[in-house]
């Protein structure tokens, strides 16, 4: 079991647990999507609030 800990922009931690790479693939956590939406771009939930992140 491997752990990779990152700190999010708001200071919260997140830990990826990986056990074995998928055949022919890099472990998923090595391909982070670092694009961040602006607050205005973020989607709304059913009650009209912005989704987290």
């Amino acid at each position: 079991m491997e752990k990779r800990r990152i700190i999010k922009e708001d200071g919260r931690y997140l830990i990826f647990y990986s056990f074995s790479p998928q055949p022919g693939q890099e472990p998923a956590e090595k391909r982070p999507n670092t694009r961040n939406l602006t607050r205005e771009e973020k989607p709304l939930d059913r009650e009209g609030r912005q989704c987290p992140n």
Binding site: R12, Y17, S18, A28, N33, T34, D45
Partner: protein, 330 residues
Amino acid sequence: MSELRWNPLLEEWVITATHRQQRTFLPPKDYCPLCPTREGGFPTEVPASDFEIVTFENRFPSLQRNPPEPAVKDSGLYRTQPARGICEVVLYTSDHEATLADLSVSHLDRLIQVWTDRYQELGSLDFVRYVYIFENKGEVIGVTLRHPHGQIYAFPYVPPIVQQELNACAKHFEHTGHCLLCDVLAEELRDGRRLVCQNDSFVAVVPFYARWPYEVHILPRRHILSLDDLTSSGRRELALILKTVVTKYDNLFGFSLPYIMAMHQQPTDGEDHSTYHFHIEFYPPHRSRDRLKYLAGCESGAGSFINDTLAEEKAAELREAAPREGEEIE
């Protein structure tokens, strides 16, 4: 705003966490904040295009690493404390549609390794006295995000139900020299009517004292105190029996059965809890295919549960639900 307020009448802490009113409520699938961040999609909680298992600090925590000072001053009678602790979310899989029952035994084995790691890491913090691993499944339970996930609360105190169990186990040991849950397990195996399924390391029963119609407890045969005490084969057998129980739940009425799953382990407060016995409890709210049990006047106001069913009959129904004894699962 979050703080602990002491109830002197019940002698227990209440967590106030007003910021949780703002948490995301049942977003559409395409905007699930617990899914991986897809290329070109909106950024979710997980900045990766796929993952096996992830844990992260809850965005709307009831307990916080650095909590604010309580809004109301301690008056002596009315005690307050900062709500210090940690709340984590555990994402079981990147598959939005999956449930615990859909995960392979191997994946469940990995999930148990993650739970064990969180128990160890959070339990080692000096302000954490109890690591509570649980899952709320289904909207009738109050789930606000459908993606398969569980939660972990690292408490600064031992929560009341666990404390009550600790006290009962210590008292039973003092009187008999035996572990209470080892004796319960022996009684269930001897009687047999409430057994749901079993393997070499674990037994699942609708307990004699079930409060919910389809309540199931999973008990290790060996006297262990926490996930930390599991061997690798024991962990595999826990994965197997978890898969069996939740699959039986889903086959009971032909739909994915909502439940609360509560993991009861020894506290991490440095005290001796050797008379305790690790176990997992499931509380599905359904009392029939289309009827729910509510915590009404007697349960909420008097703290006394009324179970409209017999544990022996409900266990028989669960035994009959697939997978039955001898049927393979993976």
